[in-house]
Subunit: 196 residues, 2 copies
């Protein structure tokens, strides 16, 4: 698929299948590569700072060649009452995270870092997500059938839990899926026109 | 895929491919059939009343057998500054609708009517959607590549325009795709427990 405007090719360094799908479906000329990143961060950072820092750190740990193309890295975190929820290590942690999110609202931050030649830009987007109260049976059903161990906060908004338990989103939906595409599209245009 | 609770089978009478996908991915035991409905409505009805009326009218124009199952019909409308935007008849009308939605916010209403035996329930859900300003080039690109003629308001939130031009959603995202699944899930449980 084409785009209405000409963009340079993009290298998306991310293991997230949701991010990969969003980029290819939007129509970018995109190459995708894996990036193993250490997701630790300094304890004094808060919310948006954590997401931006991790995206920046991923971009700076990329050592491939991206000349003539835009390198894009991103990190998504879930924040509930000022606590950052990462990917759960096992069923027990997933159960504990989802019990915490049940019947309340949380915020999802995605930090994005793009690099083009010597220049770079970092930004983030935040979205509020409201969950209805979930029963223990529903949470256990979800974990055993969907195994959300690669997802921050232990859920995917584009699967069963998102369909049946998310009552409201306030902000960019695709940010919750893992990438704030409409914001990125605007930032990328500005970033490239600043470069000329 | 299963569900954590037992529900009777569902007959979804709708031509919308998005609705069909949402039902099957949520895990319902669902049979799908077409329904040709006249989408006219009395001029004195407003917003939510239009969506509920059309869903009710669809359910009452269904003449198949749904004994032992729940019949579900729905109608989605887009409302911009109190004007109801239906499906566009051609490119000119799609262009006019999208130009109208550009750089502003609108509301999406989905009315749902469910019938089980002699009983029925009607409800609606509303979601606010914000579009950034779109260029004429972007709108023409979208219409010629995505041909949004089967969509109320001339766009799909799950395709290129949704990815790149929707900056914010306030409410249920899946309502904008055509069906308020989390609300339906809750209403269905209540509806069936009332029946016992």
């Amino acid at each position: 698929m084409l785009l209405p405007e000409a963009f340079p090719g993009i290298i998306l360094a991310s293991r997230s299948p949701r991010r990969r799908t969003l980029f290819s479906e939007t129509g970018f000329d995109v190459s995708i590569c894996d990036l193993d990143a250490d997701e630790s961060f300094p304890a004094h950072l808060k919310d948006a700072e954590v997401a931006e820092y991790l995206a920046w750190k991923k971009a700076h740990s990329f050592h491939g060649d991206y000349s003539g193309r835009v390198l894009v890295c991103a990190d998504t975190i879930v924040v509930h009452e000022h606590k950052v929820l990462n990917k759960p290590v096992d069923e027990t942690e997933a159960f504990s995270m989802l019990s915490r999110l049940s019947g309340s609202e949380h915020r999802v931050f995605t930090g994005v870092c793009m690099k083009y030649g010597e220049r770079e830009r970092v930004f983030h987007e935040v979205t509020e997500v409201h969950f209805r109260s979930m029963s223990e049976q529903e949470i256990r059903f979800y974990i055993s059938n969907f195994k959300p161990f690669d997802k921050a906060g232990s859920y995917g908004i584009q699967d069963w839990l998102g369909y049946t338990c998310v009552t409201r989103v306030n902000g960019c939906f695709y940010n919750v899926m893992g990438f704030p595409m409409s914001r990125f599209y605007r930032e990328l245009k500005e970033f490239l026109s600043d470069a000329q």
